[in-house]
């Protein structure tokens, strides 16, 4: 049971953290149509997070709610990929100030949705039937997110000199974070053994094919990746998650007895 809960939290934290990030564009998009599209992506992700937290809360069976899981856990307890908590700009410390960069947003959404279309597809046969149902719904959404981000990756990569340079910089910045996808956490191992989760390593070839194909079509180069492998999914995050959660959780924590 606890293996399933830990695995659900990993999936839910991914969704809520990226949903929170993508919502930062609401009202600030590069064009009205994209403002609406990004809000849709964010809504899908927050919807996924809610279902996953609700299932985890149900399995805990101690009266825990989705909001306690989202709002009253500290950053060390979060199990999301580090990739998803990064701000929408290049490498800078958490308290640095920088403009949002749409290329970073699009490349991140592309790299993540290219993984999740495979993860959700596999989880449709999870031994946890609730998770299987959530996966079927989420697969449709991730397919749209992939479509949306891939289209923009092509426009940016094969658009102007500036957009090409920005897209390449975002790929160079973010691709190393995807190495975390292929390391296996204890929660994932236990979930795979229980028939609940998917062994992500089996998805790597399919992900590589999607990414290589899109980068080539976008006239972008896939950089050689080496160096530190992030460990967000075991709770060792970047400096950015603390700020993201401080903002997200502030009101709920200031009024722990409030009802909303």
């Amino acid at each position: 049971m606890s293996a399933t809960i830990d695995y659900l939290l990993h999936l839910a934290d991914n969704a809520v953290v990226l949903g929170q990030r993508d919502a930062e564009w609401c009202g600030h998009g590069p064009i009205l149509e994209e403002d609406l599209a990004l809000a849709n992506v964010s809504l899908d992700l927050i919807g996924q997070a809610r279902l996953l937290y609700q299932r985890a809360a149900e399995l805990k069976g101690d009266g825990t709610t989705e909001d306690q899981l989202a709002y009253f856990r500290d950053s060390q307890a979060f199990r999301n990929y580090t990739l998803l908590e990064l701000p929408h700009h290049g490498a800078l410390v958490g308290y640095a100030v920088a403009d949002r960069d749409y290329a970073t947003t699009i490349v991140r959404n592309f790299l993540y949705s290219a993984l999740m279309v495979h993860v959700w597809d596999a989880l449709q046969t999870s031994a946890d039937s609730e998770l299987a149902g959530i996966a079927a719904k989420s697969l449709k959404e991730a397919t749209y997110h992939l479509h949306h981000s891939r289209d923009w990756l092509l426009r940016m990569g094969d658009g102007t000199d500036e957009s090409h340079a920005r897209a390449q910089a975002a790929v160079n910045h973010l691709l190393p974070y995807t190495e975390e996808f292929w390391t296996v956490s204890p929660a994932e191992t236990a979930a795979v053994e229980a028939g609940v989760g998917v062994d992500v390593r089996t998805l790597r070839a399919a992900w590589d094919a999607l990414v290589n194909d899109a980068l080539a079509e976008a006239t972008l180069t896939r950089p050689q990746v080496r160096g530190y492998v992030p460990q967000g999914k075991v709770g060792l995050h970047s400096e950015h998650l603390g700020f993201l959660l401080a903002e997200m959780q502030s009101l709920a924590r200031a009024h722990p007895d409030g009802c909303w």
């Binding site: 609401c26 600030h28 009205l32 709002y71 658009g159």
Partner: protein, 337 residues
């Protein structure tokens, strides 16, 4: 959301627009007038007097700008929404407002003005938008109160526009009004839940209502006696009900809702008038309204600068999309050759 009465001229400092006598072709004018008199619709391909076209472009673009700028005060709370359910509701709501902006820009484009031209008007400060968005959202209850009061006021203004004489505008308003009604009920429900919570939450609700109430009354525009544009708007079927009548309707509808909610509307003069069968209410501060319309509200500069920044920062993205589309077209042509 969000219209205020569109008697607000775009040029700062100018409170009325003179209605010039028509120099249009009398035969076409007579046909146009007959259509209006028969409560028919004017469509984009139909002949229309220039002043009608200008008034509509101004009104619809002000409305569209209000939707877009109106995303900002509520967007202020998306990242801090206190539950995932409320976060999802708020994102969807702000997204709806963006969608309204999109339909309205499209409706205005049918009159021969491009979205770029309209945005240029907004960004240069020439075009106006609803003054209510130039106030800050200072606590979470503002989100619910905007839904209840601001969207509630907007609906009063907008329902008559579903019967506006210009076809594309009236059709856009049908959908906008459905969504606004939903927002209003959602906002009211959010406040009802907060009122059942802690004392601090009830204080938030009262505080939000205190700050928003008078601004909402001003949203209906200047008193009828000071609205020289209204008569022409009524004649053209662009405006159906006067500012003061709409304001009264809003007050009458809102007072009982405030009672159910358990908050006090911040007006000592607010009381039922048996003779009029309406609520009387106090004096609106029109000086503050005009100051804010003319750029001197607490958030005018921030709101506008934020829109300008989003537009400028997005230039390279839009350029990329156009460059890519051009390349794709060239490739397709080469392949065809």
């Amino acid at each position: 959301m969000y219209t205020q009465s569109f008697n607000v001229p775009d040029q700062a400092g100018q409170k009325t627009v003179a209605v010039t006598p028509s120099t249009e072709n009398p035969e076409l004018m007579a046909r146009f007038d007959a259509r209006i008199d028969a409560d028919g619709r004017i469509e984009p391909q139909d002949w229309m007097p220039e002043a009608y076209r200008r008034t509509l472009v101004r009104q619809i673009s002000q409305h569209a700008h209000s939707e877009i700028v109106g995303m900002l005060p509520e967007g202020n709370w998306i990242s801090r929404a206190p539950s995932l359910k409320r976060k999802a509701i708020l994102i969807a709501k702000v997204q709806d407002e963006g969608g309204h902006g999109l339909y309205l820009y499209s409706a205005a484009e049918t009159l021969g003005t491009s979205r770029d031209q309209m945005l240029e008007g907004l960004h240069s400060g020439k075009a106006k938008y609803s003054s209510i968005f130039n106030y800050p959202t200072l606590n979470w209850a503002d989100v619910g109160a905007i839904g209840w009061l601001v969207d509630g006021a907007a609906i009063m203004n907008q329902i008559p526009l579903c019967r506006c004489s210009y076809g594309p505008y009236s059709r856009a308003m049908v959908r906008v009004c459905k969504e606004e009604s939903f927002h209003q009920r959602q906002g009211y429900e959010a406040l009802l839940v907060m009122m059942k919570g802690t004392e601090a939450q009830r204080e938030m609700v009262q505080d939000a209502v205190n700050r928003l109430w008078w601004k909402c009354l001003a949203m209906f525009g200047p008193p009828d006696a000071d609205s020289p544009n209204s008569a022409q708007g009524m004649r053209w079927g662009i405006k159906r009900i006067s500012n003061d009548d709409l304001r009264q309707k809003f007050v009458d509808a809102t007072v009982p809702q405030a009672k159910v909610l358990g908050i006090t509307l911040p007006d000592p003069d607010l009381k039922w008038n048996e003779e009029r069968q309406h609520y009387d209410y106090g004096q609106i501060d029109w000086q503050e309204f005009w100051d804010t319309v003319e750029g001197n509200g607490p958030c005018n500069k921030e709101r506008l600068a934020t829109r300008v920044k989003a537009h400028n920062d997005g230039q390279w993205v839009r350029d990329a999309a156009q460059a890519y589309a051009r390349k794709q077209q060239e490739r397709a042509m080469k392949e065809a050759a």
